[in-house]
């Protein structure tokens, strides 16, 4: 693999040596960074009373990464880790991936087959910036935004004429990434076409097995957009996104090899009209439709079909928002409808959700120094109880450089389709999982068929399954002076009615029937720290750190149920409450150090990022069903990513580097961490 990369590296260094020596591009101080995700209005980042991170397109370009999960993984407080379902997703403030909403240009991605969205399906090639809001954001976004919102904002044509970029990147594991983005504008009409093709052979940490950690796959993304300005006050945007992916499907079942395909098809379409009534009133009319579908099959060695599965989800969402400017203040109100359907294997029927919602937000500036953001959202839903999600936040500017911010908010996550309608029997083990809403009927059916030996006493399904809900507090500071920028945020989340599985009956085959229930309460708290120091035009160093504690309240309140442990190979011992470590998959400490070094005279940037994650547990290994200090942990580890970018001319850039430079892997415990991956890229901007 190293030999294969050598020609690229030498090409790169030649480029470096013969590059023209032009004046350095001045590092622009961004005077007033404007964001939209925290308030759904154009808003200055520095006075926003919410914890927020912005990743710019320049920052993304310099890292040399190509997929959304990779760039998010480099941010403080955003941790990519498989959750208990085994799928990789984002953990923010200690909350699992199911609780973070992912938006592209303000509208949500769907397709959470197992509760987690696969973020590698989003290419970063046309991203203008990524906005990350941490903490409960249901007051604006409703369900799923209980832990936060990540909004991917794509580039749009700004100036008349044609511009854009073409790039090709090759990396270890025969990974190819081809990008083309063309932006065109002529007075009132503008258009943008983005296309990306990505393919890889995948990777394999354990060569002794036939299956790989990630099998070979390829995907294609096409995003055409049209913009038309009817007038200064009425502007139309129509954007579309098509995504297709095919991955080799392989499995060993009863020591027999099975092969097949797994495909994903996604389609998003958004039409939006921006309407400025006058200088005081501004409206946005938005219609969004999306479909996510996956299909997979497996055949055995004799070409006999073993399994066929599909998942087909639709979302249709019209929404209207209006903002009234009243003196220095802004009142925003919105209303919308969600119409959602899902048809999938293991569902006895095609299910539909309907909901209607309104939200109101008041952005109030009583003085030069104080900003208050207050709002709520009300969701009325066809399948679960209505939700009222309030939020209150304040920013106090102590000096021009230093401000304090605090927020409190309510967040919720509705029970998902699976938790309500799943109807699944595991063919290998023989257990059954039933969604809450169909469990009673299906249990009666199974009982009539003689398949049930015993119903668990005290279980009934008469009260609807409740939404999971959270109260979130943030308290932070924002400091920016000359070369130094500092952000500190302390957070606390208390989550109740967490949905978990429980046994509802014993089958006559000795296995269990599971269903879902509101069972536990968890809490998470911690501190996030971000600082950047720009020494001069050449060197900038940033440090990010998160301290996190995440625990189950019932374990803390009643530790007696968990006080005995039997470490493998030894007898039972008694432990104390202080030995309780907390929830699975949570590291107490995560650190990142980023070093950017520029050689303006040769137009070269070096970007080194080092990441550390302290130990975490993935399962209970000693029989008390919680994680304690006697359990086996995944060791803490460090990882480094390096990229070197070099402009040959103003328009032509060469880039090379390595992800996971130190080649750290842990095949037995971390199956999503590939070894060192070299890459080389050529990009032409026009």
């Amino acid at each position: 693999m190293r030999l294969r990369i050598t020609p690229f590296m030498s090409l790169f260094f030649c480029g470096m040596a013969f590059g023209q020596m032009k004046d350095s591009i001045a590092v622009d101080e961004k005077l007033a960074e404007v964001v939209v995700t925290g308030t759904r209005t154009q808003r200055k980042l520095s006075t926003l009373p919410l914890p927020m991170t912005v990743i710019t397109s320049e920052a993304i370009l310099k890292t040399g990464v190509t997929r959304l999960n990779e760039i998010l993984n480099e941010q403080t407080g955003v941790i990519l880790i498989p959750d208990e379902s085994g799928f990789e997703g984002i953990q923010m403030q200690g909350l699992d991936a199911a609780y973070t909403m992912i938006l592209i240009d303000g509208v949500p991605l769907v397709g959470r087959t197992s509760g987690v969205l696969d973020l590698s399906r989003v290419s970063v090639g046309n991203i203008d910036r990524i906005e990350i809001v941490k903490g409960a954001s249901s007051a604006l976004y409703g369900s799923e935004a209980m832990g936060g919102v990540i909004n991917v904002i794509t580039k749009r044509p700004k100036n008349d004429g044609v511009d854009g970029s073409l790039s090709y990147r090759y990396g270890t594991f025969n990974t190819n990434d081809i990008n083309g983005n063309v932006l065109w504008k002529k007075k009132k009409l503008a258009a943008n076409l983005f296309a990306n093709f990505y393919s890889t052979d995948g990777f394999d940490l354990d060569k002794s097995t036939w299956v790989q950690n990630i099998e070979k796959f390829h995907n294609t993304t096409i995003q055409p957009k049209i913009y038309y300005d009817f007038s200064e006050n009425l502007k139309l945007t129509v954007s579309n996104r098509f995504f297709y992916q095919m991955i080799d499907n392989k499995a060993v079942i009863d020591s027999e090899r099975h092969t097949g395909d797994a495909t994903e098809n996604e389609w998003n379409s958004q039409a939006k009209l921006d309407h400025k009534w006058n200088s005081k009133i501004y409206s946005e009319y938005e219609l969004y439709a999306t479909n996510y579908r996956n299909d997979s099959f497996l055949k055995n060695e004799n070409n006999v079909l073993f399994e066929k599965a599909f998942y087909n989800q639709w979302l249709l969402r019209p929404e209207i928002r209006t903002t009234f400017s009243i003196n220095k203040d802004k009142l925003t109100a919105g209303l919308g409808i969600n119409h959602e359907t899902l048809d999938r294997t293991y569902f006895s029927e095609n299910v539909t959700f309907n909901s209607q919602y309104v939200f109101v937000q008041y952005d109030y500036n009583p003085s030069e120094k104080l900003n208050i953001l207050a709002g709520f959202r009300y969701d009325n839903h066809s399948a679960y109880a209505s939700q009222l999600s309030p939020k209150l936040a304040a920013n106090y500017k102590i000096t021009d450089d230093f401000s304090l911010k605090a927020s409190v908010g309510y967040g919720y996550k509705a029970p998902d389709f699976r938790q309500l309608y799943f109807d699944f029997m595991n063919p290998q083990v023989g257990y059954t999982v039933l969604g809450y809403n169909i469990a009673e009927d299906r249990l009666n059916e199974l009982e009539a068929q003689g398949q049930i030996a015993l119903r668990t006493s005290g279980v009934n399904f008469s009260v609807p399954l409740k939404a999971e809900s959270a109260i979130n507090f943030n308290f932070g500071t924002f400091y920016k002076k000359n070369k130094f920028k500092l952000d500190i945020n302390a957070f606390y989340n208390s989550i109740s009615n967490l949905i978990d599985t429980r046994v509802v009956a014993l089958k006559s085959n000795g296995q269990n029937v599971f269903s879902y229930t509101n069972i536990s309460e968890i809490f998470t708290y911690g501190l996030e720290y971000n600082s950047t120091y720009t020494f001069n035009k050449k060197i900038a160093v940033s440090l990010g750190y998160q301290y996190l504690i995440a625990k189950d309240k019932s374990v803390v309140d009643d530790f007696d149920n968990h006080k005995f442990v039997r470490p493998p190979g030894s007898g039972t011992i008694e432990i104390s409450k202080s030995d309780y470590f907390g929830l699975f998959n949570r590291s107490k400490h995560t650190v990142n150090i980023k070093l950017a070094y520029s050689f303006p005279e040769i137009k070269t940037d070096i970007n080194l990022r080092v990441f550390y994650r302290s130990k975490y547990g993935i399962f209970d290994s000693n029989g008390n069903s919680v994680l304690d200090k006697y359990d086996r942990f995944v060791d803490g580890y460090a990882q480094a990513n390096l990229s070197i970018s070099k402009y040959i001319t103003d328009k032509l850039m060469l880039q090379g580097g390595a992800n996971n430079l130190l080649d750290y892997t842990n095949p037995g415990q971390i199956n999503n961490l590939a070894g060192r991956q070299f890459f080389a890229r050529i990009q032409y901007n026009f």
Binding site: E84, S85, G86, V429, Y431, V433, A453, L454, T456, S457, T501, R502, V503, L506, S508, N509, G510, Q511, N512, F514, D560, K563, F564, V565, R566, P568, G569, G571, T572, I573, E574, F619, D620, S621, N622, G623, N624, S625, R632
Partner: protein, 199 residues
Amino acid sequence: MNTKFLKLTLLALVLFTASCSNDDNETVVAETETVSNLEAPSTASGYTKFSFSKNAVVTTDDWDIAFRGTTILVNGGVKGSDATEPARTGQGAVSIVSDIFANVTTVPANETFKQDTATLYAIPTGGGNGWYTYNVVGLHIIAPIAGKVFVVKTHDGKYAKFEVLSYYKDAPAEPNYMTSVAGYYKFNFAYQANSNTTF
């Protein structure tokens, strides 16, 4: 020379102490035995019956506990609706104690003992209710709960205690639901052959 003498003295001392303790106390401390790979049928083909006094699988009516899948029966009470269950011919019962196995030295109060009924077993079934936990997302592993000790009144009114150590063949330290073979019990037990209520 010196070391030899020392060794002999120590040996004599040990022997003396050992014989002393036997003479002092009439209670026989029940030995802890370990049973490995006791195969429990997984389907409706019946139960594997076990006798503590014989430390063996039996097919007769003098069994104390019986296994099928994750279900454990006791030889006392009423037979349930399942036709393959053995009839309860003994006076068995179970009391569930949360403690370290070795620390359970006395038999709990009479009223804590339960027998199987037609609808509820003395050792409740289901993850988190009886002797094991099971999570449907994640590992799919039947994991014995540490510190669950079952004090059993045997079919003939003696006492034994047992704790389950593993549900998988050869008791792997970290069972895997794809590769480990389920339905093979490993457990510790101590049987008090006298009619004593201590172990």
